[in-house]
C-alpha cells in the first residue's frame, strides 16, 4: 500500500513539474515575441551568452570536429577502399557528420559547458535573492534572464553546428592529407555532389531545437531552487540529465520524421 502511495506521490510531483515546465516554456515564448521591443534590457546578456556558449566553445568544438572528421575519412577510406567503394566515404560524411553528429555532439558540449552554468547561475541568483530584487524593480526574470539566455544558446548552438561541419569536412581533409592524400578539388566536388540542402537544414533545425530545449530546461531547473544553496548542484545535475535525455529523444524523433517524410 505504501508503495502505491509513494508511486502516486512521485507521479503527482512529476506531472506537476511537467505542467509547470510547460507554463514556464509558454511564458518564455510569449516574452520572446516582445524581446525585440525590450532588447535594451537583455541585449547585453544575450551577447555575453553567445560569447560564452558559442565563441568560447569554438576551440573545443573545432578540435572535436577535426578529430572525428579526420578519423572517419581515414578509417572509411581504408576500409571502403579495399573493396572499391572508397567514394562511399562522402555519403558517410554527409549522413554521419553533417546530418547527425554535428548537432548532437555540439549540443552535448553546450550542455556540459553552458547548461550547467545557466542552472548554477540562476540557482545562485535565487538563493542570493537577486530574482526577488528584479521582481521588486518590475523586471521580469524570464524576460531579462531566460529569454536572452535561450536566444543566446540557440544562436550559439546554430553557429557552432556550422563551424563543426566546416571543421569536420575541411579539417578532416587536411588531417587525412597526412596519411592518404586526396585531391582537394576532387574531394569537395564529390562531397557537394552527395550533399543536399536538406542535409544541412536538418542539422540547423536540430541545433535550434536543441538550443531551445537546453536553455529552457537549464533555466527552469535553476529557477526552481528555493532557499538553500545545497539545492543548486542537485538542480544542475538534474538539468544536465534532462537536457541529455531531451537531446537524444528529439534527435531520434527528427531523424525518424525525416525518413518518414
Amino acid at each position: 500500500m505504501k508503495v502505491i502511495v509513494d508511486f502516486w506521490k512521485v507521479l503527482k510531483r512529476s506531472t506537476t513539474e511537467i505542467f509547470e515546465f510547460y507554463l514556464f516554456a509558454l511564458d518564455t515564448f510569449r516574452r520572446l515575441l516582445t524581446f525585440s521591443r525590450q532588447k535594451q534590457i537583455g541585449f547585453t546578456v544575450l551577447l555575453r551568452q553567445i560569447m560564452f556558449t558559442g565563441y568560447e566553445a569554438l576551440p573545443l568544438i573545432s578540435f572535436l570536429a577535426l578529430s572525428i572528421g579526420g578519423l572517419i575519412i581515414i578509417q572509411g577510406y581504408n576500409i571502403l577502399g579495399t573493396f572499391g567503394q572508397g567514394d562511399l566515404i562522402y555519403v558517410i560524411l554527409v549522413t554521419v557528420v553533417i546530418r547527425e553528429l554535428s548537432s548532437i555532439l555540439t549540443a552535448l558540449i553546450v550542455i556540459a559547458r553552458s547548461g550547467t552554468a545557466i542552472s548554477t547561475e540562476l540557482g545562485n541568483m535565487v538563493t542570493n535573492n537577486e530574482i526577488n530584487l528584479l521582481l521588486s524593480c518590475g523586471i521580469s526574470p524570464v524576460s531579462y534572464l531566460v529569454v536572452s539566455r535561450m536566444v543566446g544558446v540557440v544562436v550559439a548552438l546554430f553557429t557552432l553546428t556550422i563551424y563543426f561541419n566546416l571543421a569536420a569536412v575541411f579539417g578532416g581533409w587536411l588531417f587525412s592529407a597526412l596519411f592518404s592524400p586526396i585531391n582537394f578539388r576532387y574531394f569537395f566536388s564529390q562531397l557537394f555532389s552527395q550533399m543536399t540542402m536538406a542535409d544541412i537544414l536538418i542539422g540547423v533545425l536540430k541545433s535550434i531545437l536543441f538550443g531551445i530545449g537546453i536553455a529552457l530546461i537549464s533555466s527552469y531547473q535553476g529557477l526552481k531552487v528555493n532557499i538553500a544553496s545545497t539545492e543548486v548542484p542537485q538542480r544542475t545535475i538534474r538539468a544536465v540529465v534532462l537536457s541529455i535525455v531531451f537531446v537524444v529523444f528529439a534527435d531520434i524523433i527528427i531523424t525518424a520524421l525525416f525518413y518518414l517524410i
Binding site: T44, L47, R48, I50, M51, G54, Y55, L58, Q85, V155, F158, T159, I162, Y163, L166, S189, F192, S193, M195, T196, M197, I200, V204
Partner: protein
C-alpha cells in the same frame, strides 16, 4: 576591462555572421554543383520495375551526367512511369530513336541509367517526349533494328547477357526448357564415369610400372653378364678355348661380335619397351613374356660364361626383387 568584454558585440558579430556566410556559400555551392539554377527539360520513360531507382538517380551519356530522375509512379499497367529531367547543356543530345538503359549493380543494389543516343543527331526531340527504355519492347526493337548501339560496362554486359540467356531458357514456350538441368545431369554422369575409368587406369599403370621395373632389372643383369662374358672372351684362359681356337679368330671373336650386336639390340629393346610401356596397357602380358625370355637369356649367357670348359658352370640363381610381381604376399609371410 578585458578585451573580450569591451568588444563583445564585434566578436559575436564576426562569429555569427561568418557562420551564416559559410551556410549561404554551402547552399550556393550545392545549388551550382547539382545544377539547381539551370533550366531543365522534362522527358519521360517507362521501366518494368523500380528496383534500385531513386528520385536522384543520374542519367549518364558517355560518362557525363546529363540529367536525373525527377519522380516515378506505378501506373495502371503495373509499369513504372518515370519523369526525367535533362540539363540545358545536353538538351540537344536528346534526339529521335534514342533510348535509356537501366542496369543494376549487383554489389550496391543501385541502378544506373545510361542514355543511348539515336543515329540522327539532327532530329532533336521536343520537350516532354517519350524516350523508350531498353528494358521494354520498344527499346529492344530499336536495338534489334540497329538504330542504337548498346554499350555498357563489362560486368553489366555479362550480367545482362546471362540474364537474357536464363530468361530465354526458362520461357514456357522454349523447347530447350530445362536444358541447363539436363546438361548438369549429363555432366555429373560423365564425371562419375570418368572417375571410375581413372581408377582403373591408375591400377593398370601401377601394374605396368611394376612389370617394367622388373623387366628393366632383368635386362640390366643380362647386359652385365654379357659384358663379363665379352671381357672373358677377349682374354680366353680356358682349356677348350685354347685347344679349339688358340688365336681366338675362329670362335671367340665371332661370338664376341655376336654378343656386342646382342647388347646393342638389347639397348634398342630397352628403348622399345619404355616406349611400349608408355603407350598401351595390353602389352603387360608381352612384357611378362619378355621378362621370362630375358631371364632365360640371362641364364644361358651366364651358363656360357661359367661353362666348366670355359669358366666355372652355372651359378646359383639369386632371387630378383619383385620378380614374382606380388611383393605384398612376400611381405606378409611369417
Amino acid at each position: 576591462m578585458k578585451f573580450k568584454f569591451r568588444h563583445t558585440d564585434k566578436i559575436v558579430g564576426i562569429f555569427f555572421f561568418s557562420a551564416v556566410l559559410v551556410l549561404v556559400l554551402s547552399f550556393v555551392i550545392i545549388a551550382l554543383s547539382q545544377k539547381m539554377l539551370e533550366k531543365k527539360y522534362d522527358f519521360h520513360t517507362i521501366f518494368p520495375d523500380a528496383v534500385g531507382l531513386s528520385p536522384s538517380t543520374v542519367l549518364k551519356f558517355r560518362g557525363f551526367e546529363i540529367g536525373k530522375v525527377k519522380s516515378y509512379v506505378l501506373n495502371d499497367d503495373n509499369l513504372i512511369e518515370t519523369e526525367i529531367i535533362i540539363y540545358e547543356d545536353y538538351r540537344n543530345k536528346i534526339v529521335a530513336n534514342s533510348a535509356i538503359n537501366k542496369s543494376s549493380n549487383p554489389i550496391t543494389g543501385k541502378s544506373s541509367l545510361e542514355f543511348l543516343q539515336g543515329a540522327d543527331p539532327e532530329q532533336v526531340l521536343p520537350e516532354g517526349s517519350f524516350i523508350p527504355s531498353l528494358n521494354m519492347p520498344e527499346g529492344q526493337r530499336l536495338l534489334e533494328a540497329g538504330l542504337i548501339e548498346k554499350k555498357g560496362d563489362a560486368i553489366s554486359s555479362i550480367l545482362d547477357n546471362v540474364d537474357q540467356m536464363l530468361y530465354n531458357l526458362n520461357r514456357d514456350e522454349n523447347a530447350d526448357q530445362g536444358s541447363i538441368f539436363r546438361m548438369i545431369y549429363n555432366l555429373a554422369n560423365a564425371s562419375e564415369k570418368l572417375d571410375l575409368n581413372m581408377g582403373e587406369l591408375n591400377q593398370l599403370l601401377v601394374l605396368l610400372n611394376s612389370d617394367l621395373k622388373e623387366s628393366m632389372h632383368n635386362l640390366d643383369l643380362t647386359l652385365h653378364n654379357a659384358s663379363i662374358m665379352l671381357e672373358n672372351y677377349s682374354q680366353p684362359e680356358g682349356l677348350l678355348a685354347r685347344m679349339i681356337d688358340p688365336e681366338g679368330d675362329q670362335l671367340l671373336q665371332p661370338l664376341g661380335n655376336s654378343l656386342r650386336q646382342l647388347e646393342e639390340n638389347l639397348g634398342e629393346l630397352e628403348k622399345l619397351l619404355e616406349f611400349i610401356g608408355s603407350q598401351a596397357p595390353e602389352i603387360a602380358e608381352i612384357l611378362i613374356e619378355g621378362k621370362n625370355s630375358l631371364q632365360t637369356a640371362q641364364n644361358t649367357l651366364e651358363g656360357i660364361n661359367n661353362n666348366p670348359f670355359i669358366r666355372g658352370g652355372i651359378g646359383k640363381e639369386s632371387p630378383l626383387p619383385g620378380s614374382s610381381g606380388r611383393t605384398r604376399e612376400k611381405d606378409i609371410q611369417p
